[in-house]
Structure formats: structure tokens, C-alpha cells
Symmetry: C2
Subunit: 570 residues, 2 copies
């Protein structure tokens, strides 16, 4: 590719919309252009990286016996009514009527399509296990798209679906996918990747893992035990809390005036947050007249994912003006209202002498002892693990909280889709059974952004040889010099013929300009051909990752580069 | 790939939904499964063919300096308001509101996206010409999907857009694409392909070509002159009609009773259709109270594409009950109604002694002489060329009408999109100009269907080596024979290692069953390994296209097959 004809502007400054490094670099280097909120066009360099990542994913999926298929983006409502997801999925799924008035949707994932394809086609246990996958466009109407390709509404995704006769078989296959994903991340050049236990969310099923790139720009929080290696998304992570173990005191009302928040109460009464009981109020999906109040120890936060999993419906923060609750003074003692559902976090279990709201303006109650004052309560794990909690796995380490971006996920789905959609096969004994499914996703664009985020430096993007938009860049200096030009053109043509993916900077601009662009785009190897180097019949080779430089005889360059590129790919 | 795990059923009979050969074969061979009207899932063999076709297209587009990008499927209304197509395109474009109430659409083509990407990015004439293309999912809500993958609502398409500083430059590039398309069809194995001048339809622009696979299942009609090679879609084709040249007679009313159609009138009056004047009535878009009546010579049909181009709006057949017209007795003589727009075809110009309706029940008028009885009329070319008309190009040959399926199209767009969307660049003199565009499309799925339609035989599908789902199939007979099994497995593994795409029939079923499946899927080369052939340490090689068979030493098979596959690809 001649850079003079390459569509896309490269700029020194990032546009103001850029909020993270990867977004700034991809915009500055002319890789992406925003079309609408969360919707981007990929320019040639980004699409080349995307195709290379897709091919690596394809290879790894084929290695674990995957069969590539292509499901439709647009699907009719009926299949999704069968699974129940036509109504259970919210506004993030696009629904429309076709010209005949038929309800259609844009598929967010393709469990329904996979079962539709497999049922009637697969009839017997000996056709299992199998895995089908596709690489395809998805549109999800995310409420909050952000950070360039990190969270978008439209993206290319690999989604895979496996079918099994038993849980054991699923688990064995799940392990193969688990390992394949790590191979994929390694090959595309992501380094700081971990797999963590995760919430199954709208997918159904029980066991699930998310692959996380650990990075400060992540929206997810991950609890990791440095002692035993326990890792989990805080949405599902459990920790062991320090208990206070103070002797029970008398309950009494305390005048707290305008102090409402935990911080204000603590300051007023000179206590610590873990000596208080926090109340958080939610609206529940499908329960317009009722409110949910979740109580957690004051130093903790409510984990909404855990709450949803327990009450089995969606929740949203509730405006207290619509209730009889006293804002900032809600307490569990004496709180009786048929329109309230109360949920107590395990952090409160057995605690003594807590301060909680008195359910009237300007007053709290101190000395609340859970087992004495609120007997017969069931406790649930509904709080977020926080930094420093004890590890529930080894009982020894202290959990540390990291930020991460989810770059892939795998789920053990069970029979949710095969049972609701009535897919049965004959088992060995001739009985009808519902196959057990797994599903496995990777978003391509987000992985491109994560590589940029993790590997990019202050000069620009950095790609490994497997996914770089071009493998080698030829930078002739002084193209008005006939010898420079002819040598550069010849090396360009020879490298292309040898199957090397070459970018050729054929512009008559200054060396500084060329080098800046080259570093911004991030081609792994640069060949500088200048009048001076040619005096000794040499070219200068430099490497984007290390910045190392070396001189090489022009006549050896072709073979050296061909071999180097081949050697660096894996 | 082991066939025992290949998802998809192969059947002897085609399901009843199949209306054409390609659809029947693709369904029978387990290549596709219908999800909804005009919406299919591609199973692994079809997706493999699709990816191979995509790669050939990619290579050919890159050879003519194309840059691959990826535009969004979902776009905001604004860009399409700029071009005017948000309102000018009908129900075939899906529109919906996103969660914020914003008007969005599913892109049918991407001229708007291409201009959105290029404007502001490209500023000067010396950055032109360039061509950008993508390979991506399209959804078009076709009123009539049909014939399997021939006409669907969702499909994968390559669409390309070029930008030029002058019409000459566009024409030079257009020729390169024109040739590249023929290379693509040749490489994917389509034979009977021609390029014809075509209607530009909703794309705007003036010059356009469609690539047609000539086949009886085609919906399009193409006029070809065997003398000079003139070729055009009948939507735009012109011919030279025989004129009758009879002496003018008197007009008189004739009682025709219940005779209404041209055929009935001709039989009753013992005349030929070309001695009548046919009237066809249409509703016009945006003109609820008016009707359009098109008059053509009775042996011809109205060409609606030509009518639309002349009146510059959409038309649809009109129910005569909503008008004052007398069904079956409409005639141009004496027809006066402010709510009617009349359009006369050139076939009528100068004709004498025509029979036309008398605008009252049971009567026609004979002896109508156009120039005498309907003076001062403007004539337009609004009829369909028919078999046997004279060639307008060489004035010598007689046009012959063929059926064809459109398998690609190329358009010279002019500045329709760059001017409406305000994309300007500086020309050599520093003046702002709108670049001139071309656009170029190929639907992948339809090409798969066309290969199946053209090359498929009574045994099944036939693919060339470039696009075959697998290049070689290994068919061991008697897998219970240890030697057969070990030799087959070894050849399978060796071929895979050598980079050959192999299908391995690892099932314990009869030879007849294996051969039938093999021929149905259409793998180009089959290797049969049997106890008998192994007695002389041989395998049997057979070729799907010719049916030829040959014996080969087992030890030579790997190299022979590797070389044969490489040699057959181009």
C-alpha cells in the first residue's frame, strides 16, 4: 500500500471526544471515524488488524473442532418468544416491524439461531458434541457507549455455541475453549489478561468466566487473592469481612439533625462506617407499588448484580419521594410497610451496636444488635467485595481490587435454550434429552482497542507481527534522489511478491514527518533508505517495539525481512 | 473436517419450498437453512464457499488499488437526509428508532457512509483517485424474496466506492473494475456471464452495467444482438420495430361486445396485435387523484423502468374501479379527463389503422391513424424490447431476448452524493469541486446460488478448486478394516498438514451412501481407499467435474493431491 493513497488523516492532537489512550491513538492514526454515538467506520488499517484477529480466532476455533457458520443479523420474533428473551431483554435489543408488519429484531447473541439450526438436524447422541461459531456484526443499543471501540453499539463479534450430552462433556469442552481463548489473546498481543468467574446475566446458566484485560480504564472491578490466585468479578466475588465483635449495648434514639450520609453520621458520632447500617432503596421490575430496601454494613456497597440474581428481576434506583421512607434516616428497626421488600446483607449478620436510621427526620438509632433487635432475619450475599477483605478461597490472603476491561466471555448455559425451544435428541438408551449448551464470545473491535490501550506508547500504536496492519514499512528519505527511489520501489515490489504486507511511504515529505506517521501507525519494522545509507549500499532497519536500529546491506534486506516477519508470527 | 461431526443433513429429496435447482441442491446438501422469509443461516460448507469467494473478491479489489474498510450496518438518519434517500427509498429500507428516539436505518448501500468518511479527510485533488470497499451484511426488506439465495432479504455483499477529479478519470477506473469483475466470475467458476447496460434506478447516475448470468431461472430479460454484440437489460434496451405502413382508412366504431384483451380483440376482428393500441393504467407516487395511462402498440409491453425514469416518480398498477375509465375499452381518441396523464410509446408513432378502445362498454374504434387523429403528441420510448426487433446499434441484426440473474453491478454515479452531502476538494487551480463517484456491488450469496444453478448436475453440486468447501474428500470403504482406517487417517492428517482443505468421510456406512453424499456436496477430488485397492497399495482418485477415475500408488497420493490442488487454483 502506498501511503499517499491511504485514506485517513494522521494528526498530532487527538480530537476532544477522546477520553482514553486507545481512542485518542486510533483516531489520531486514522484507524477509525465516528459515525454516530457508539457507531464507527473502520478505515483500512483498523480493518486489516480486524481481519488478522478474525483469522487467528478462526484458526483457534477450528483447532477445537469449531464449524464456522453464518447466522442472520435480522431474526423473526418467534424464535425469541420460544426462549422468552423477546420480552426479557430490554431496550438494548433493537426491534422493528418488517414491511408486512412482522416483528423482527437485530440479534444480540445467537443462542436461539444456534438451536434453530441444530434442532431437527441433529437427532442422536453420537452426533454430539459439536461447536458452531460465526464472526458477524452485532448491534446492541447500549445506553452508555464510551471510550472509542471499548464500548460501542455496533461491533464485529465471534460467537460460538457448543452442544453436549452431559455436564461432564460440556465441562471438558469448556476447558478447551478456556485454553483457546488464552492462546488467542497471546497471539494477538494482549499481555495482562486473566479469566475470572462472572455473573451469567441475561444469558442464563450457572458457570461463566470473563476474560479481563487489567487496565485502569476498565469499567469492571475484579477481586484477586495474591496468595491463592482466586479471581472473580466483584459482581460475583465473595470475601470474608472483619467482624467487630463488640459487647451489645442498649438501643437508643440519637438526634442527628441534618446528617444523612454515612460519612456525615460517622463524623458527627465519631464512629467508623463499619459501625453503621446503610439502606439503599430500589424499584423492582414488574412491581410498581413496591420498593426494595437493601441493608448493608455502612462501609460496603450494594452489589446490584447479586441482588438481581436473588430476587430474579431487574432493579433500578428508586426516587424516595414516591415512598413513605424518610430519606437519609431509613432503618431496619421498626420498619413495617406492606409495600416494602427488605433484603439484609451477610455483612450485618451478628453485628452489634450499629447505628441506623430511626425512620423519622433528624434521628438515628444507636446500639442496634442484629440478632437481638432484628431476630429471624435471612441474610444474603448482596454487597460488593472491597479491597482488603479476606479471601474466601484460601482463608489466608487479602483480596485486592483491580480494574479490567472484559475482552471475552464463556458460559455454561445448561439446557435453558434447548428446553424452552424444545430441542431433543436420543441418548444412548433411546430416551429424549435436551442437549446441554455452552456459549463463547469475543468482540473484535474491543480487542483492537485493548491492544492499543495496553501496548500503545507516547509515540503511537504498537502491534505485534500477527496483527499489525502492515508488517514492514519502507521509508525512503529524499525521493527526489533517483537511486533512493529506484531502490525503495524495488524493495517494495520484491517484498510484496514475497507475500510480505508492506506499507510504502512514497510521499515527498520530511524525515521527521515520515517517522512520526510511521510510529503513530505502529508498523513493527521500518526500513529507512537514504542517500547516505546507500553510499555504503546499506539500509537502516528499526523495530517499533524496542526502538532498536541496525544497518543491513541492501542486498540482504529482502531475505532478512522475509525471514524476520515469518519468525515473528505465531 | 470429519463428516461425522459436520452439522447439516443431506437428503435425497428437496423440501417442497425449493423452486429452482440451486435452492434444491443447497438445501439437500445441507448448505443452507431457512430462518424466515428471505433469511437463511449458512451452514459450514456454504460459509466456507462464501469466505473463499470473499477472499477472491478481496484480492481482485486490492489489485485495482482498493482499500478495505468497514462501514456500519446501522446508520443515523442525518446522512441519509443529506442525500435525500431517507425519504426517497421505500419500504425496502428498514428504519427504526433507537432507545433515545433517534431515527436510525439499516444501510442498503453505503454511498452516504463513503462520503461521510471521505469528506473532511480528503482535501486535495492529488489524493484522488481512490477506491474504498467493504464486505458486509446488508438487509433489504424485499417484497418478493425467492429461489433460495437468489433473492433474499439479508445477504453478504461487497460494495465499493471510487472518487475522481474528472469524468475521464472515473471512466478509466470504471473500466478497471469492469475487467476485475470478469476476473472474479471466472475465478469463482461462473461461465455464462455477460455485462449489459442497465437502469441506474435509485442509485442516481447515468452509465451503469449489470453482470448477468444467463440462465432460464433469471428474473431479468436481456436483449442481445448476435450480429454486433449489443447487450442491454430490456429495462433500458432499445430496438427497431417493423412498421406496418398501411394506407389510412376511416375511423369507425366497432361493436366488440365482451372482447377486452388484445388477444380477444385480435381474434374477433382477425387482426394482429401490432394493429392495435394497448392502454395500461398506473397510479403515480404522490399523485393520489391522478392516473397515468400508457399507450403502446398491442404486441408490446410497457417497460415500467422507462416510464419511471421519464415521469421521475414511482408507479404501481391502478385499480380501474377508482377511475372513470372503461376497463378493456380505453382508447386515446376522445379521451379527455383532467385527472389523466397520457404517455405514448414510440411504437405508435406514424402508425395507421389501429384498433383502440372507444371509452365506452362493448365498443372499440378501428382505423385510428396516429398523426391524423391524435396530432401534436410527444412520443417516448416506454415499451419493452421484444425478441426479433432490429438492433439499434448495428441496424442489421435482430435482437434476441435471454433470461438472466444479476450477479453484480457497477455505476457511474456522478456528483449526486458529493454535491448533496457537500464534499469538496481543491482542484489543481485551487477551486472547490465535488468529486465524481463510481460504485460497484457484488452479492456473495447470490453468486453461490448461481454457481450451484449453472454447474450443479443431477448428482449434486459442483465447485471449482478456488471456491469448493473442501478441496479433497477421503472416502475409506470398510472402516472396520484396520489397514484401510490407518491409511485413511494418515492421508487425512498429512493432507491437512500440507495445507489442503480435506473432508474425511469417517462414517461406517455403505459405499453408495458415501458416494452419494460426496457427489451432493461436490468436493472436486475424491480419494477412495478400500481393502481391494490397498492390496496393490493403491488408492482410487476421481474427479467431480468429469467423472474420470484413476488408480494411484498410496505413497504418491499426498504429493499428487497437493500438486493437483495447487495447480487447479487460480
Amino acid at each position: 500500500m502506498r501511503i499517499s493513497k491511504l485514506l485517513g488523516e494522521r494528526t498530532k492532537e487527538a480530537p476532544s471526544i477522546a477520553t482514553v489512550k486507545s481512542q485518542a491513538l486510533l483516531l489520531r492514526a486514522g484507524f477509525i471515524k465516528q459515525v454516530s454515538n457508539g457507531i464507527y467506520t473502520l478505515l483500512t488499517p483498523a480493518q486489516k488488524v480486524s481481519l488478522k484477529i478474525q483469522n487467528i480466532i478462526r484458526e483457534e476455533m477450528n483447532k477445537i473442532d469449531g464449524q464456522e457458520v453464518l447466522f442472520p443479523v435480522v431474526m423473526p420474533r418467534e424464535m425469541w418468544d420460544e426462549s422468552g428473551r423477546y420480552t426479557s431483554i430490554g431496550e438494548e435489543m433493537v426491534r422493528f416491524k418488517d414491511r408486512t408488519g412482522h416483528d423482527m429484531l437485530l440479534g444480540m447473541t445467537h443462542e436461539e439461531a444456534a438451536v434453530h439450526l441444530a434442532r431437527n438436524t441433529v437427532k442422536s447422541y453420537d452426533q454430539l458434541p459439536f461447536m458452531i461459531y460465526q464472526i458477524q456484526t452485532k448491534f446492541r443499543d447500549e445506553a452508555r457507549s464510551r471510550a472509542g471501540l471499548i464500548r460501542v453499539r455496533e461491533f464485529t463479534m465471534k460467537d460460538a455455541y457448543s452442544f453436549h450430552t452431559s455436564q461432564e462433556d460440556l465441562e471438558a469442552y469448556y476447558k478447551r475453549v478456556y485454553d483457546a481463548y488464552f492462546r488467542i489473546y497471546k497471539r494477538i498481543g494482549l499481555k495482562n489478561v486473566i479469566a475470572v468467574a462472572s455473573d451469567t446475566g441475561m444469558m442464563g446458566g450457572k458457570i461463566a468466566h470473563e476474560y479481563m484485560l487489567l487496565t485502569d480504564i476498565g469499567e469492571d472491578s475484579i477481586a484477586i487473592c495474591p496468595k491463592c490466585g482466586y479471581k472473580a468479578n466483584v459482581e460475583v466475588a465473595k470475601g470474608i469481612l472483619d467482624k467487630i465483635n463488640s459487647q451489645p449495648e442498649q438501643m437508643k434514639e440519637v438526634y442527628t439533625g441534618d446528617a444523612k450520609t454515612i460519612e456525615e453520621i460517622c463524623e458527627l458520632l465519631s464512629i467508623k462506617p463499619n459501625q453503621t447500617c446503610k439502606a439503599v432503596c430500589y424499584a423492582m421490575e414488574g412491581e410498581q407499588n413496591k420498593s426494595l430496601v437493601v441493608f448493608v454494613r455502612g462501609d460496603l456497597d450494594v452489589n446490584e448484580a447479586k441482588v438481581k440474581a436473588i430476587i430474579k428481576r431487574d432493579i433500578a434506583p428508586k426516587d424516595l419521594d414516591d415512598t413513605n421512607l424518610v430519606k437519609g434516616n431509613i432503618g431496619a428497626v421498626g420498619l413495617k410497610d406492606d409495600n416494602l421488600v427488605l433484603l439484609f446483607d451477610e455483612s450485618l449478620k451478628g453485628e452489634n451496636n450499629l447505628v441506623c436510621g430511626a425512620n423519622k427526620e433528624k434521628y438515628h438509632i444507636s446500639g442496634v444488635c442484629m440478632s437481638r433487635d432484628l431476630p429471624n432475619i435471612e441474610y444474603y450475599d448482596v454487597s460488593k467485595v472491597k479491597d482488603g477483605e479476606g479471601c474466601v478461597n484460601c482463608k489466608d490472603g487479602q483480596l485486592k481490587i483491580y480494574r479490567g476491561v472484559e475482552i471475552g466471555n464463556i458460559f455454561q448455559l445448561g439446557t435453558k435454550y434447548t428446553s424452552t425451544m424444545n430441542m431433543t435428541i436420543h441418548d444412548k438408551n433411546g430416551n429424549d434429552i435436551n442437549p446441554i449448551m455452552g456459549c463463547y464470545g469475543i468482540g473484535i473491535g474491543r480487542n483492537i482497542a485493548c491492544i492499543a490501550e495496553e501496548s500503545g506508547d507516547d509515540k503511537g500504536l504498537v502491534w505485534n507481527m500477527n496483527v499489525a496492519p502492515w508488517e514492514v514499512e519502507i521509508c525512503p528519505l529524499r525521493l527526489d534522489d533517483g537511486l533512493v527511489k529506484s531502490k525503495a520501489e524495488r524493495l517494495y515490489e520484491d517484498l510484496k511478491l514475497a507475500g510480505v504486507d508492506v506499507l510504502y511511504d512514497d510521499r515527498n515529505v520530511s524525515p521527521g514527518f515520515k517517522f512520526a506517521d510511521s510510529e503513530l501507525i505502529g508498523v513493527p519494522v521500518r526500513v529507512v533508505i537514504s542517500p547516505r545509507s546507500l553510499q555504503e549500499n546499506n539500509v537502516e532497519i528499526s523495530f517499533r517495539t524496542t526502538g532498536e536500529k541496525m544497518m543491513l546491506a541492501y542486498d540482504d534486506a529482502l531475505n532478512y525481512l522475509k525471514d524476520y516477519v515469518a519468525k515473528e508470527k505465531f
